[in-house]
Amino acid sequence: MKQNGTELGYNSKVEGDVVVTKADAVINWVRSHSVWPMPMGLACCAIELMGASASRFDIARFGMEVMRFSPRQSDCMIVAGTVTYKMAPAVRRIYDQMAEPKWVVAMGACASTGGMYRSYATMQGVDHVVPVDVYISGCPPRPEALLDGMMRLQEKIRTEHSSRELLGGREEQMKLRA
Protein backbone atom coordinates (compact mmCIF):
# COMPACT_ATOMS: atom_id res chain seq x y z
CA MET A 1 0.00 0.00 0.00
CA LYS A 2 1.52 3.28 -1.05
CA GLN A 3 0.45 6.39 0.77
CA ASN A 4 2.10 9.81 0.63
CA GLY A 5 5.15 8.29 -0.99
CA THR A 6 5.81 5.95 1.94
CA GLU A 7 5.89 2.19 1.54
CA LEU A 8 3.40 1.01 4.13
CA GLY A 9 3.30 -2.66 3.32
CA TYR A 10 5.09 -5.29 5.36
CA ASN A 11 8.32 -6.41 3.77
CA SER A 12 9.63 -9.33 5.80
CA LYS A 13 13.00 -9.35 4.00
CA VAL A 14 13.79 -5.84 5.12
CA GLU A 15 11.96 -5.57 8.38
CA GLY A 16 11.85 -8.98 9.95
CA ASP A 17 9.10 -8.95 12.54
CA VAL A 18 8.78 -5.20 12.58
CA VAL A 19 6.22 -3.16 10.61
CA VAL A 20 6.99 0.46 10.04
CA THR A 21 4.06 2.67 9.29
CA LYS A 22 2.21 5.77 10.38
CA ALA A 23 -0.18 5.74 13.31
CA ASP A 24 -2.87 7.40 11.20
CA ALA A 25 -2.58 4.75 8.54
CA VAL A 26 -3.00 1.94 11.02
CA ILE A 27 -5.84 3.54 12.94
CA ASN A 28 -7.69 4.51 9.78
CA TRP A 29 -7.10 1.09 8.26
CA VAL A 30 -8.62 -0.54 11.32
CA ARG A 31 -11.51 1.89 11.51
CA SER A 32 -12.40 1.81 7.86
CA HIS A 33 -12.54 -1.97 7.76
CA SER A 34 -14.70 -2.44 10.78
CA VAL A 35 -17.46 0.11 10.48
CA TRP A 36 -20.34 -0.92 12.70
CA PRO A 37 -23.44 0.55 11.14
CA MET A 38 -26.50 1.57 13.06
CA PRO A 39 -29.47 1.07 10.76
CA MET A 40 -31.70 4.12 11.14
CA GLY A 41 -34.37 2.54 8.96
CA LEU A 42 -37.24 4.97 8.63
CA ALA A 43 -38.97 4.00 5.39
CA CYS A 44 -38.70 1.94 2.20
CA CYS A 45 -34.93 2.51 1.82
CA ALA A 46 -34.43 0.32 4.87
CA ILE A 47 -35.54 -2.66 2.76
CA GLU A 48 -32.60 -2.11 0.41
CA LEU A 49 -30.37 -1.73 3.44
CA MET A 50 -31.50 -5.17 4.55
CA GLY A 51 -30.82 -6.45 1.06
CA ALA A 52 -27.30 -5.09 1.22
CA SER A 53 -26.56 -7.04 4.37
CA ALA A 54 -28.00 -10.31 3.10
CA SER A 55 -26.03 -12.93 1.19
CA ARG A 56 -26.47 -11.68 -2.37
CA PHE A 57 -24.83 -8.31 -1.77
CA ASP A 58 -23.04 -9.26 1.42
CA ILE A 59 -21.90 -6.08 3.09
CA ALA A 60 -19.69 -8.34 5.24
CA ARG A 61 -17.10 -8.18 2.46
CA PHE A 62 -16.37 -4.66 3.67
CA GLY A 63 -16.39 -5.46 7.35
CA MET A 64 -19.74 -3.80 7.95
CA GLU A 65 -21.98 -6.72 8.67
CA VAL A 66 -22.29 -5.99 12.39
CA MET A 67 -25.48 -3.94 12.31
CA ARG A 68 -26.07 -2.70 15.81
CA PHE A 69 -29.40 -1.36 16.91
CA SER A 70 -27.83 0.34 19.88
CA PRO A 71 -26.15 3.67 19.22
CA ARG A 72 -23.60 2.85 21.94
CA GLN A 73 -22.24 -0.02 19.93
CA SER A 74 -22.12 1.51 16.49
CA ASP A 75 -20.13 4.18 14.73
CA CYS A 76 -21.91 4.84 11.45
CA MET A 77 -25.53 5.83 11.32
CA ILE A 78 -27.14 4.90 8.01
CA VAL A 79 -30.25 7.06 7.74
CA ALA A 80 -32.37 5.00 5.37
CA GLY A 81 -35.71 6.62 4.79
CA THR A 82 -37.95 9.61 5.21
CA VAL A 83 -37.13 11.85 8.15
CA THR A 84 -40.29 13.48 9.40
CA TYR A 85 -40.13 16.48 11.67
CA LYS A 86 -41.62 14.33 14.38
CA MET A 87 -38.76 11.83 14.02
CA ALA A 88 -35.91 14.30 13.45
CA PRO A 89 -35.22 15.05 17.15
CA ALA A 90 -35.06 11.31 17.84
CA VAL A 91 -32.52 10.88 15.04
CA ARG A 92 -30.44 13.67 16.54
CA ARG A 93 -30.63 12.22 20.04
CA ILE A 94 -29.58 8.79 18.84
CA TYR A 95 -26.71 10.40 16.95
CA ASP A 96 -25.67 12.19 20.13
CA GLN A 97 -25.58 8.88 21.97
CA MET A 98 -23.11 7.32 19.54
CA ALA A 99 -19.53 7.29 20.72
CA GLU A 100 -16.83 9.09 18.72
CA PRO A 101 -15.61 8.58 16.10
CA LYS A 102 -18.89 8.47 14.24
CA TRP A 103 -20.14 9.01 10.74
CA VAL A 104 -23.52 9.47 9.06
CA VAL A 105 -24.61 8.18 5.69
CA ALA A 106 -27.78 9.66 4.18
CA MET A 107 -29.19 6.83 2.12
CA GLY A 108 -31.64 7.76 -0.61
CA ALA A 109 -33.45 10.85 -1.80
CA CYS A 110 -35.55 11.24 1.34
CA ALA A 111 -32.71 11.27 3.82
CA SER A 112 -30.60 13.48 1.55
CA THR A 113 -33.17 16.10 0.52
CA GLY A 114 -36.64 15.08 1.62
CA GLY A 115 -37.12 13.35 -1.73
CA MET A 116 -40.60 13.38 -3.11
CA TYR A 117 -42.05 14.52 0.18
CA ARG A 118 -42.19 18.25 -0.32
CA SER A 119 -44.42 18.54 2.65
CA TYR A 120 -45.14 20.36 5.86
CA ALA A 121 -44.32 17.16 7.73
CA THR A 122 -41.02 16.05 6.19
CA MET A 123 -37.60 17.41 6.97
CA GLN A 124 -35.93 18.38 3.70
CA GLY A 125 -32.74 16.42 4.34
CA VAL A 126 -31.43 14.88 7.54
CA ASP A 127 -28.40 17.20 7.32
CA HIS A 128 -30.54 19.81 9.04
CA VAL A 129 -30.00 17.95 12.31
CA VAL A 130 -26.93 15.72 11.92
CA PRO A 131 -23.67 16.20 9.95
CA VAL A 132 -23.77 13.90 6.94
CA ASP A 133 -20.58 12.38 5.51
CA VAL A 134 -21.92 10.58 2.46
CA TYR A 135 -25.10 11.14 0.46
CA ILE A 136 -26.39 8.30 -1.68
CA SER A 137 -28.79 9.14 -4.49
CA GLY A 138 -31.65 6.92 -5.55
CA CYS A 139 -35.19 6.15 -4.58
CA PRO A 140 -34.35 3.69 -3.27
CA PRO A 141 -30.64 3.27 -4.02
CA ARG A 142 -29.79 -0.26 -5.05
CA PRO A 143 -27.65 -2.18 -2.57
CA GLU A 144 -24.71 -1.69 -4.95
CA ALA A 145 -25.14 2.06 -4.53
CA LEU A 146 -25.14 1.68 -0.78
CA LEU A 147 -21.97 -0.43 -0.98
CA ASP A 148 -20.40 2.20 -3.20
CA GLY A 149 -21.39 4.87 -0.70
CA MET A 150 -19.89 2.87 2.13
CA MET A 151 -16.67 2.47 0.17
CA ARG A 152 -16.60 6.25 -0.27
CA LEU A 153 -16.97 6.50 3.46
CA GLN A 154 -14.01 4.16 3.88
CA GLU A 155 -12.00 6.42 1.58
CA LYS A 156 -13.01 9.37 3.68
CA ILE A 157 -12.04 7.61 6.90
CA ARG A 158 -8.61 6.88 5.42
CA THR A 159 -7.95 10.60 5.02
CA GLU A 160 -8.75 11.48 8.62
CA HIS A 161 -6.16 12.72 11.14
CA SER A 162 -7.04 10.02 13.62
CA SER A 163 -3.96 10.11 15.86
CA ARG A 164 -4.15 13.85 16.29
CA GLU A 165 -7.83 13.50 17.08
CA LEU A 166 -7.13 10.81 19.61
CA LEU A 167 -4.27 12.64 21.29
CA GLY A 168 -5.63 16.16 21.00
CA GLY A 169 -8.41 17.44 23.16
CA ARG A 170 -11.99 17.74 22.14
CA GLU A 171 -11.44 21.19 20.70
CA GLU A 172 -8.79 19.83 18.38
CA GLN A 173 -11.17 17.10 17.32
CA MET A 174 -13.89 19.55 16.47
CA LYS A 175 -11.44 21.70 14.51
CA LEU A 176 -10.28 18.73 12.50
CA ARG A 177 -13.80 17.55 11.84
CA ALA A 178 -15.08 20.91 10.73
Binding site: Y85, P89, R92, R93, G114, G115, M116, R118, Y120, Q124
Partner: protein
Protein backbone atom coordinates in the same frame (compact mmCIF):
# COMPACT_ATOMS: atom_id res chain seq x y z
CA UNK B 1 -65.15 0.30 -3.89
CA UNK B 2 -66.73 -1.14 -7.03
CA UNK B 3 -70.48 -1.27 -7.18
CA UNK B 4 -71.09 -4.87 -6.27
CA UNK B 5 -74.23 -6.82 -6.94
CA UNK B 6 -77.25 -5.47 -5.21
CA UNK B 7 -75.85 -1.97 -5.25
CA UNK B 8 -77.77 0.05 -7.77
CA UNK B 9 -75.85 2.43 -9.94
CA UNK B 10 -76.72 5.97 -10.90
CA UNK B 11 -78.69 8.31 -8.72
CA UNK B 12 -80.87 5.51 -7.37
CA UNK B 13 -78.43 4.27 -4.78
CA UNK B 14 -80.64 2.88 -2.11
CA UNK B 15 -80.62 6.10 -0.15
CA UNK B 16 -84.39 6.25 -0.47
CA UNK B 17 -85.02 2.81 0.97
CA UNK B 18 -82.69 3.40 3.86
CA UNK B 19 -84.25 6.74 4.64
CA UNK B 20 -87.80 5.44 4.35
CA UNK B 21 -87.24 3.13 7.28
CA UNK B 22 -84.89 5.35 9.27
CA UNK B 23 -86.41 8.74 8.60
CA UNK B 24 -89.28 8.52 11.05
CA UNK B 25 -86.94 7.47 13.85
CA UNK B 26 -84.31 10.16 13.52
CA UNK B 27 -85.34 13.73 13.13
CA UNK B 28 -83.52 15.74 10.53
CA UNK B 29 -82.24 12.86 8.48
CA UNK B 30 -81.80 14.08 4.92
CA UNK B 31 -80.56 12.39 1.75
CA UNK B 32 -77.25 13.60 0.37
CA UNK B 33 -76.47 13.73 -3.33
CA UNK B 34 -74.43 10.64 -4.12
CA UNK B 35 -73.31 8.65 -7.12
CA UNK B 36 -72.49 5.40 -5.42
CA UNK B 37 -73.68 4.41 -1.96
CA UNK B 38 -76.65 5.39 0.14
CA UNK B 39 -75.75 8.66 1.78
CA UNK B 40 -77.52 10.62 4.43
CA UNK B 41 -76.92 13.70 6.46
CA UNK B 42 -77.57 13.45 10.15
CA UNK B 43 -77.74 15.86 13.05
CA UNK B 44 -74.82 15.71 15.45
CA UNK B 45 -76.92 14.68 18.43
CA UNK B 46 -78.26 11.63 16.54
CA UNK B 47 -75.01 10.30 15.16
CA UNK B 48 -74.50 7.78 17.94
CA UNK B 49 -78.04 6.36 17.96
CA UNK B 50 -78.07 6.33 14.16
CA UNK B 51 -74.80 4.43 13.82
CA UNK B 52 -75.94 2.05 16.56
CA UNK B 53 -79.14 1.35 14.66
CA UNK B 54 -77.26 0.85 11.41
CA UNK B 55 -74.87 -1.51 13.16
CA UNK B 56 -77.36 -3.55 15.17
CA UNK B 57 -80.41 -3.61 12.92
CA UNK B 58 -79.09 -3.08 9.41
CA UNK B 59 -75.92 -5.14 9.56
CA UNK B 60 -73.43 -2.32 8.99
CA UNK B 61 -70.91 -3.94 11.26
CA UNK B 62 -67.74 -2.33 10.01
CA UNK B 63 -66.69 1.26 10.28
CA UNK B 64 -64.43 1.68 7.27
CA UNK B 65 -63.47 5.29 7.60
CA UNK B 66 -64.03 8.49 9.47
CA UNK B 67 -62.86 11.66 7.83
CA UNK B 68 -63.94 15.23 7.28
CA UNK B 69 -64.26 17.92 4.65
CA UNK B 70 -63.44 21.57 5.08
CA UNK B 71 -65.84 23.59 2.89
CA UNK B 72 -63.69 26.69 3.30
CA UNK B 73 -65.90 29.78 3.37
CA UNK B 74 -69.21 28.03 3.60
CA UNK B 75 -71.09 27.46 6.79
CA UNK B 76 -71.29 24.91 8.26
CA UNK B 77 -67.64 24.75 7.45
CA UNK B 78 -66.77 21.22 8.59
CA UNK B 79 -68.57 18.01 7.77
CA UNK B 80 -67.54 14.70 9.31
CA UNK B 81 -68.08 11.56 7.23
CA UNK B 82 -68.55 7.99 8.35
CA UNK B 83 -68.30 5.10 5.90
CA UNK B 84 -69.94 1.89 7.03
CA UNK B 85 -69.87 -1.55 5.45
CA UNK B 86 -72.36 -4.34 5.68
CA UNK B 87 -70.11 -7.37 5.17
CA UNK B 88 -73.01 -9.71 4.36
CA UNK B 89 -74.40 -7.70 1.46
CA UNK B 90 -71.17 -5.86 0.59
CA UNK B 91 -73.14 -2.63 0.84
CA UNK B 92 -71.61 0.60 1.96
CA UNK B 93 -73.38 3.50 3.56
CA UNK B 94 -72.20 7.02 4.09
CA UNK B 95 -73.34 9.20 6.95
CA UNK B 96 -72.33 12.82 7.30
CA UNK B 97 -72.61 15.19 10.21
CA UNK B 98 -72.22 18.94 9.90
CA UNK B 99 -70.31 20.62 12.73
CA UNK B 100 -72.45 23.43 14.04
CA UNK B 101 -69.62 25.62 15.25
CA UNK B 102 -67.30 26.77 12.46
CA UNK B 103 -64.54 27.93 14.79
CA UNK B 104 -64.53 25.12 17.32
CA UNK B 105 -66.04 22.20 15.46
CA UNK B 106 -67.24 19.34 17.60
CA UNK B 107 -69.09 16.07 17.11
CA UNK B 108 -69.78 13.18 19.47
CA UNK B 109 -67.25 10.37 19.33
CA UNK B 110 -68.45 6.96 18.20
CA UNK B 111 -65.60 5.00 19.80
CA UNK B 112 -68.08 3.40 22.19
CA UNK B 113 -69.79 1.81 19.15
CA UNK B 114 -66.83 1.07 16.89
CA UNK B 115 -63.37 0.62 18.36
CA UNK B 116 -62.02 1.34 14.88
CA UNK B 117 -63.14 4.92 15.26
CA UNK B 118 -60.51 5.70 17.83
CA UNK B 119 -57.57 6.29 15.53
CA UNK B 120 -59.73 7.61 12.70
CA UNK B 121 -61.12 10.25 15.00
CA UNK B 122 -57.68 11.09 16.29
CA UNK B 123 -56.50 11.58 12.73
CA UNK B 124 -59.48 13.74 11.86
CA UNK B 125 -58.79 15.79 14.96
CA UNK B 126 -55.11 16.05 14.05
CA UNK B 127 -55.75 17.18 10.49
CA UNK B 128 -58.91 19.30 10.85
CA UNK B 129 -59.05 20.23 14.50
CA UNK B 130 -62.48 18.71 14.96
CA UNK B 131 -62.98 17.66 18.57
CA UNK B 132 -64.74 14.38 19.22
CA UNK B 133 -66.49 14.68 22.54
CA UNK B 134 -66.15 11.68 24.86
CA UNK B 135 -63.23 10.31 22.88
CA UNK B 136 -61.16 8.28 25.38
CA UNK B 137 -57.79 9.61 24.23
CA UNK B 138 -58.06 12.52 21.83
CA UNK B 139 -54.43 13.30 21.05
CA UNK B 140 -52.73 14.10 17.79
CA UNK B 141 -51.75 10.96 15.94
CA UNK B 142 -49.57 12.00 12.99
CA UNK B 143 -48.23 15.39 13.97
CA UNK B 144 -46.68 15.83 17.37
CA UNK B 145 -48.36 17.18 20.48
CA UNK B 146 -47.93 20.91 20.50
CA UNK B 147 -47.97 21.35 16.72
CA UNK B 148 -49.91 24.58 16.35
CA UNK B 149 -51.78 23.99 13.06
CA UNK B 150 -54.30 21.67 11.48
CA UNK B 151 -52.75 20.84 8.11
CA UNK B 152 -55.81 19.79 6.11
CA UNK B 153 -57.72 22.96 6.82
CA UNK B 154 -58.12 25.11 3.75
CA UNK B 155 -56.21 28.06 5.15
CA UNK B 156 -53.13 25.92 5.76
CA UNK B 157 -50.77 26.51 2.82
CA UNK B 158 -49.64 23.53 0.80
CA UNK B 159 -46.01 24.26 1.60
CA UNK B 160 -46.46 24.34 5.36
CA UNK B 161 -45.76 26.98 7.95
CA UNK B 162 -42.52 27.68 9.79
CA UNK B 163 -42.55 26.58 13.39
CA UNK B 164 -40.30 25.02 16.04
CA UNK B 165 -39.13 21.41 16.11
CA UNK B 166 -41.06 19.16 18.50
CA UNK B 167 -38.00 18.97 20.76
CA UNK B 168 -36.78 22.41 21.78
CA UNK B 169 -33.42 21.12 23.04
CA UNK B 170 -32.59 19.60 19.67
CA UNK B 171 -33.99 22.68 17.99
CA UNK B 172 -31.58 24.85 19.94
CA UNK B 173 -28.58 22.58 19.40
CA UNK B 174 -29.07 22.27 15.66
CA UNK B 175 -30.85 25.54 14.89
CA UNK B 176 -33.17 23.43 12.76
CA UNK B 177 -36.78 24.44 12.30
CA UNK B 178 -39.90 23.13 10.68
CA UNK B 179 -39.73 24.98 7.36
CA UNK B 180 -42.20 25.36 4.55
CA UNK B 181 -41.35 23.27 1.49
CA UNK B 182 -42.79 24.94 -1.61
CA UNK B 183 -43.62 22.61 -4.47
CA UNK B 184 -41.66 24.74 -6.91
CA UNK B 185 -38.41 23.76 -5.24
CA UNK B 186 -39.23 20.09 -5.46
CA UNK B 187 -38.72 17.39 -8.03
CA UNK B 188 -42.27 17.19 -9.35
CA UNK B 189 -42.60 20.44 -11.21
CA UNK B 190 -42.21 19.96 -14.93
CA UNK B 191 -41.59 23.57 -15.91
CA UNK B 192 -39.10 25.11 -13.62
CA UNK B 193 -39.72 28.76 -12.97
CA UNK B 194 -43.40 28.50 -13.88
CA UNK B 195 -46.28 28.44 -11.45
CA UNK B 196 -47.99 25.10 -11.06
CA UNK B 197 -51.08 24.29 -13.04
CA UNK B 198 -54.04 26.47 -12.22
CA UNK B 199 -56.09 23.36 -11.57
CA UNK B 200 -54.29 22.92 -8.26
CA UNK B 201 -56.30 25.25 -6.05
CA UNK B 202 -53.33 26.51 -4.14
CA UNK B 203 -50.98 26.14 -7.08
CA UNK B 204 -50.79 29.87 -7.58
CA UNK B 205 -49.21 30.13 -4.20
CA UNK B 206 -46.33 27.94 -5.34
CA UNK B 207 -44.52 30.44 -7.52
CA UNK B 208 -41.73 30.63 -4.98
CA UNK B 209 -38.98 28.38 -3.74
CA UNK B 210 -36.72 28.28 -0.74
CA UNK B 211 -34.31 30.47 -2.73
CA UNK B 212 -36.79 32.84 -4.41
CA UNK B 213 -39.06 34.32 -1.85
CA UNK B 214 -42.72 34.82 -2.41
CA UNK B 215 -43.42 38.45 -3.33
CA UNK B 216 -45.18 40.24 -0.50
CA UNK B 217 -47.85 41.60 -2.79
CA UNK B 218 -48.34 38.33 -4.68
CA UNK B 219 -52.08 38.20 -4.12
CA UNK B 220 -52.50 41.80 -5.15
CA UNK B 221 -50.45 41.16 -8.29
CA UNK B 222 -52.74 38.42 -9.42
CA UNK B 223 -55.96 40.34 -9.16
CA UNK B 224 -59.24 39.23 -10.63
CA UNK B 225 -57.87 38.24 -14.06
CA UNK B 226 -56.68 34.93 -12.66
CA UNK B 227 -58.78 32.03 -13.85
CA UNK B 228 -61.15 30.71 -11.23
CA UNK B 229 -59.26 27.83 -9.74
CA UNK B 230 -61.49 26.69 -6.94
CA UNK B 231 -64.42 24.71 -8.21
CA UNK B 232 -67.50 26.80 -7.69
CA UNK B 233 -68.89 24.77 -4.88
CA UNK B 234 -71.31 27.36 -3.66
CA UNK B 235 -73.27 27.18 -6.93
CA UNK B 236 -76.05 24.79 -7.70
CA UNK B 237 -73.71 21.82 -8.05
CA UNK B 238 -74.40 19.23 -5.38
CA UNK B 239 -71.74 18.79 -2.77
CA UNK B 240 -70.38 15.40 -3.70
CA UNK B 241 -67.00 14.11 -2.86
CA UNK B 242 -65.87 11.96 -5.71
Amino acid sequence: MSAGEGVDSGPATGTGELLDSLGPRFEGLEPRPTTDHPATRCRAEFIRPLLKTLRDEYGYLMLMDVTAVDWDEESPRFTVFYHLLNPKTAQYARVSVDCLDDDEPEVPSVVSLFAAAEWHERETYDMFGIRFTDHPDLRRILMWEGYPYFPLRKEFPLAGIETELPDSEVGEATEAKVLPAPMMGGPFVAQSGQPMSASEPRGRDESWTEHHHRPEDFDALEGPEQPETLEDRSGDKPRIED
